[in-house]
Subunit: 354 residues, 2 copies
Amino acid sequence: MITDRPRPTSRDVARVAGVSQAAVSLVLRDKWRGRVSPGKAEAVRAAARELGYRPNPAARNLRLGRTRTALLVVPALTNEFFARLHAGTARVAAEHGFGVVLYPSPEGVGPARDPFGSASAALDGVIASSMAAEALAALRAGGDPPLVMLDSEPERTRAAATVNLDIADGMRQVVAHLLGLGHRRLAHIAADVASWTFEVRAKALAGSVRAAGCEPPPARAAALTVADGMRAAVEALTADPRPTALVCDDDLLAAGACKAARRLGLRVPEDVSVTGFDDLSLATALEPELTTVRLPAEEAGAAGMRALLAVLDAESGENVTPGGPAETTTLPVTLTVRGSTAPPPKTPARPGGR
Amino acid sequence: MITDRPRPTSRDVARVAGVSQAAVSLVLRDKWRGRVSPGKAEAVRAAARELGYRPNPAARNLRLGRTRTALLVVPALTNEFFARLHAGTARVAAEHGFGVVLYPSPEGVGPARDPFGSASAALDGVIASSMAAEALAALRAGGDPPLVMLDSEPERTRAAATVNLDIADGMRQVVAHLLGLGHRRLAHIAADVASWTFEVRAKALAGSVRAAGCEPPPARAAALTVADGMRAAVEALTADPRPTALVCDDDLLAAGACKAARRLGLRVPEDVSVTGFDDLSLATALEPELTTVRLPAEEAGAAGMRALLAVLDAESGENVTPGGPAETTTLPVTLTVRGSTAPPPKTPARPGGR
DNA sequence: CGGAGCACGTTATACGTAACACTTCACGAG
DNA sequence: CTCGTGAAGTGTTACGTATAACGTGCTCCG
């Protein structure tokens, strides 16, 4: 049986403290040096404490014209990579008094309603990862809040800043590792998601392999799930000649690939090597543990938020952003070698091939 | 070089359309039947479209006194269970034009700054899962927005509604399954997180086992990670007598338990059975696939949001909520039997025990 | 023929905060 | 004595929206 009394306003505090509302605002925002006497300031603070006063965020947002809130656009948080990304942005945001809201995309990559229209939260800026087209379309319709892109081709978007992971280098490290072990026949278990980051994987893989004088690896597309990875890997492993290593776009696909191999009676890594991407917690839960490329997802999210904050600062400081704002940061990635890769089997399973 | 013009207001639309600002508001909110002529209504819509007008959410929130935003309090989204929970709340919220913001808890369970004070988003309600103490403390200090608890003891909290998963029944199903297979010596790999949901697991496990006339299973605590689960499982499996089944509080712990068993030269499930909890995507990525209790996390999140919406509706409708609002919903859970459980080995490894 | 109602609008106000423009007073310099 | 100056405040306004309150004409019906 709560009394449901309305929340106290700054005017209520003023009445209790015996000052004006303006003084309350000044004191509670620590802008009172030389404007309010220390005694009254203390009275204001006491009154605020007594009433349990909290400034109304809606009123403040309206008055200031900004909300200290950023929007993060990601496909789905159930993918651990994006959960980490979010953790990074949220951490940096919290350090600067910012909040983060998520683009309300219920099922996977499906487009949501309207992130800016009826959405209750106004936004100071946007951080978008992947599926940029959808977000950009909505943005161009709206009032142009600053945009930071994650893992996106810098030229294709008019973002104020871009933060990328060095995916291509990661894939090159994978190839170098496998070729160094003696593998010559690779196969690519590719994500069939239309996203720049996966295009880069495919190009870097093909490029590296060709540069080493090997045949370009065939690719099989799969949705980003264990089950679909297994399906694609079964296809890859029953091809002729059979590849000795499966390069997967993602740890989930790699997990499926491991299952597929065992289902076909092949051992990992003795008969076939498997590599992943992302270094999810899944990678060390499997046996053998996955050789995979560790992506600093949290750091990427943090960098994205920092970039956005920098853009907002510059925007409020100067009138127009200077000539070179389209800054692109690229974060390094590292190959983590674990148990799922080993030299290829000595005897080529079938000497008939080529 | 964006011109950075201020966003158009409803007054701008009114000027262009040749009507008053009030008429714009009426038309755009579809409240104009019998108040504005169809012709002018169309003019207003055209002007709004032309100017790219979008109502200022901050002003609307201030005027209406509500924000159509709910707060979700969870430990960490990197745990897939909570990511699913979030997906459920976000989906239902989006269906009703609500947004969901997350309690900004950067590192795991650490308390965050101040979810209601300087947080830019005002909140119509709160949905909190686990670690209720922290959230409740902050809540009592604030202006008492309605609270829905997830997976929490209904009596201990003064929530407007509670949505629980039938964890106890899930654990009973696990025990029945294992006892039915012939297991008599279980061990409990317990999460050392102070949360009601884990207390329930422990009590239900001990109770079920005792009810069947077996010795109560020893428990080993572990943080909710694969690595720590492995550590605890190694301890459990080197005890004398060695348990024939490991009941884990969580799929991550179960994954660690499987790794521990193999490291000790034991096969899963031939030598030792392992069960999990949650049915994360990890459960089917492992080999053998995990026998685990499927928790309808997304449904729980959805139910929580629906409960919150119901509370808000009741609150705005009547003046005071009626006598019996503290409703508790309990969602059923189901044991999913997969490959990680099997009958215990015929020959008790060491006949010395007991 | 005198309202009663309806269709069509406008005006005015309030939400709670922040910031600008004032006023008052005391005091020290010129 | 006058003027300037800084401290210590207060009064007022604006942010953009939603809605209650207030007119108009005009038709319809007793």
